[in-house]
Amino acid sequence: MVDLIRRADGRLAGRTIAILMEGDYVEPELHYYERRFAEEGARVEFLTRLWGQSSLTFTGHEYRLPFTVDGDLEAVDDERLRCFDALIVPAGMVSDRLRYSEDVHRKAPAVQLLRRAFDEPSVLKGIICHGMWLVSPIAEVVRGRRVTCHNNLISDVRNMGAVYTDQDVVVDGDLLTARTADRCHLFASTLIDLVVARTRRRPVHAPRRPEVAAPVSRAEDVAPAAEPVNRPGAPRSTVDTPGPGFSFTDLVAGYVTAYDADRRLVDLRTSDGQAVRAELTSTTSAEFARNLGEPYLDASGHLAELLTPGRHLFVRGICQPGGGGRPMQATSLKFVGRGVGDYGFEDAGWWTRQLVELARFYRRAQFGDSTPVNYEDYRTVLRLGGDKSDHFVQETDTISRLVYGMATAYLLTGEEDFLGVAERGTEYLREHMRFVDRDNDVVYWYHGIDVRGDTERKLFTSEFGDDYDAIPAYEQIYGLAGPTQTYRLTGDPRIAEDIEGTLRLLHRFFRDPERGGYFSHVDPILLSPHHESLGPNRSRKNWNSIGDHAPAYLFNLLLATGDERHARMLEECFDLIVEHFPEPDSPFVQERFHADWTPDRTWGWQQDRAVVGHNLKIAWNLMRMNSLRPKESYRRLAERIGQTMPEVGSDRRRGGWYDVMDRHPRPGESRPRLTWHDRKAWWQQEQAILAYLILAGTTGEQDFLRHGREAAAFYNSFFLDHDEGGVYFNVLAEGTPYLLGTERLKGSHSMSMYHTSELCFLATVYQRLLIDGEPLTLWFRPRPDGFGDRVLRVAPDALPTDRVRLDWVEVDGRPYSAFDAATMTVKLPQSAEHLTVRAHLVPLDGRE
């Protein structure tokens, strides 16, 4: 074996590429790798199973050329494995020979090494042509992942559960695959670029979608960059740059139309088609948007390749004083995906990873490491870093929402600790926050308790300004959010009783039996919605009391029980919404009403204003309702909101969605004004993402998909707190976090791991099952006394009936066959123990 000279200044200087070897290898492929990687400065190590020899000499496929290997793959321990920047399984018969094991009960050493390499995200796996055969004994590592391979192996990779993709080269995170040995040059060049991009040798999320393999030129900043794809042709005067007499910082969200590498000018087009020009300088920084728990990923070494037409990115910069025409000076760039059209958050594991990070943050902040968790430690108020302050209040709703988040984290991951936190929270709510009113045979929930000192003080009515001295429907509704989600997993009959008791409260005291809908408040003594002590809350109905049941608990309750009553209650809610909420003279809904449904435009802070997030929430939930009971009126209103909201409620220049604004423009003005500020709130971004994902997934409209991606791009680029964990409450219009007052908190009356986790879960469900056509596995933990009829319902959300089916079920790790694929129900066995159920759902759209 020739020890080739390595270029010391090559892009891969100091790196190691390991290549597995055996007989009947493809000669031109091996020789190419040897020289190509050395040319970049990398060290190449050939490894094989030596079978007790000091070296083995293999012969190649074409001319039986000898190739001697002395690298022992069985001697690669974890430390040495981590030193490999890439591990290649080459073409030819190498993989087949390497997968031979003399013991039918043990995997071959090469297979074991490859398995360990898959556990190390920092090691790039490169598998080409027939190389995928080596994965066959460990197929779980490619399940659901996109790969390409030799035509002969297409069925093999599908049997492994991977997603065969008809491309020459495919990148899926840390897995690179290529079609045939004669594409080894494309394979090698992509591999080189990926290794270079991993500047800190940390896990990288490359796009799930396949990259079209094209030779890429070197992206050194010192040397002249690659040929610009298009020279900017537009004259300067058409460029949109505001020109006041002072400079200011701003953010632009846009798609690259051209990049002039010589003059370092980037032309972008915003979501609504406005042209913006930015100038890069020697101090412009660039990064990839990253998930919680991921390290900073620098992109500044690749700008020439990244600034290709169609690329979606955020440019933050200083807009210069003076007249129009001057480009903004770009101070930093943020790319949202690796390839053009790719989004990091569309990678299979993104939202799940985010949910795990959030769950761990809140678990640690509230309970430390103690097991089991002690809810006496819980505090509603958490500071920016998760530490507690001197507030001693435990609000019912915030505990319930944390429980929702933890139950949802279990649903996606099966991590038992999260379920434990959810179950203990549910018990704590039952023991400390629940009032069983035997006279009226209802259950209601205290606002919260104050745990200062030795005694616990129950806070009976709401301390929150809008609802003082009244029982708001909102608090009873959200008190159910966490327990209901826990009930979906465990079937705990005690939760069912509490839910039923609260529903009786809502029906008996909050509901308007004549005109329909639910009143927003009742007085604390007589439980009447009409008592004069309620003041401006007397005899009123609002979005919270009319419709918030649906997302907070009612859909989840229906999914868990299949009970027709809940479907009817949902139908009543949405029929009232489509009848009363839309108004012809505004794209925004009317959300507050008197008992007789005449609009209330004089209430408190709302007046005649819109909450952008409520409009989006209505659109999102209408599409869920439409899946249960398809109605033209549901779909029409949802689509109308989806179509009209971006123009009025979103920031077309910077990305993201606004908060409260007037429902109508003032006379002489063309756009409604924002009310208090132009900040963007985390929970409202969630509504936009879910609304557009479900609209895109059910209607197939590309515009909806684009809005969903833009919303998710903004959220994932600016709301994730990489320093402290968790998510920011608010950001300024241009994306910088706003950290003052209650909006600085990670735990408060408003924020408690509910919206963030609902987003992670349902974005996963809609993205995978409705948009990408990929499977999803969910976890459940039914109790021995759970689900009286022993039927576990595993439908992930209210999805169109013909779109998803239950593919397989495991109970306690063993395949289980008593399930119905179409209704997505599992007939549980009687059991004295808790069961762990894994339900694997697949989309039904003809894709494999």
């Binding site: 009032f435 006279d439 005694t455 129950k458 806070l459 009976f460 604390p524």
Partner: protein
């Protein structure tokens, strides 16, 4: 439900006589609001209360909250056994200061 009030050693004692149910709750709440002082200490003498429903519990809670907010010390005295069971079962009992008799209450408040 009848309410009466007297002062004893600087402490306001309010006695509730009769049934405290949803039909009497509203009026009782209103009267209590008037009778409760804005400072000092209060004993609610419940020994004459023949029955208390959940509406009554809520009235007591609101009185407790009002006392807290104005910094008034509040003690319950003479809770009939049936009522005490209800209060205990619902968890209400734990966060009131409860004594057997009015003299006991005065002693607690003085000390």
């Amino acid at each position: 439900m009848e309410l009466s009030k007297y002062l004893s050693e600087g402490t306001t004692v309010i006695a509730l006589d009769g049934e405290l149910t949803s039909s009497t709750a509203q009026r009782t709440h209103g009267t209590l609001e008037e009778l409760m002082p804005d400072e000092g200490s209060v004993v609610l003498d419940l020994s004459g209360m023949s029955y208390m429903s959940s509406a009554g519990l809520r009235v007591l809670l609101l009185a407790h909250r009002r006392a807290q907010r104005s910094g008034v010390d509040l003690v319950l005295a003479g809770i009939p056994p049936d009522v005490r069971i209800t209060m205990s079962a619902t968890g209400f009992l734990e966060f009131f200061t409860v004594v057997d008799t009015v003299p006991d209450a005065l002693e607690v408040l003085a000390g």
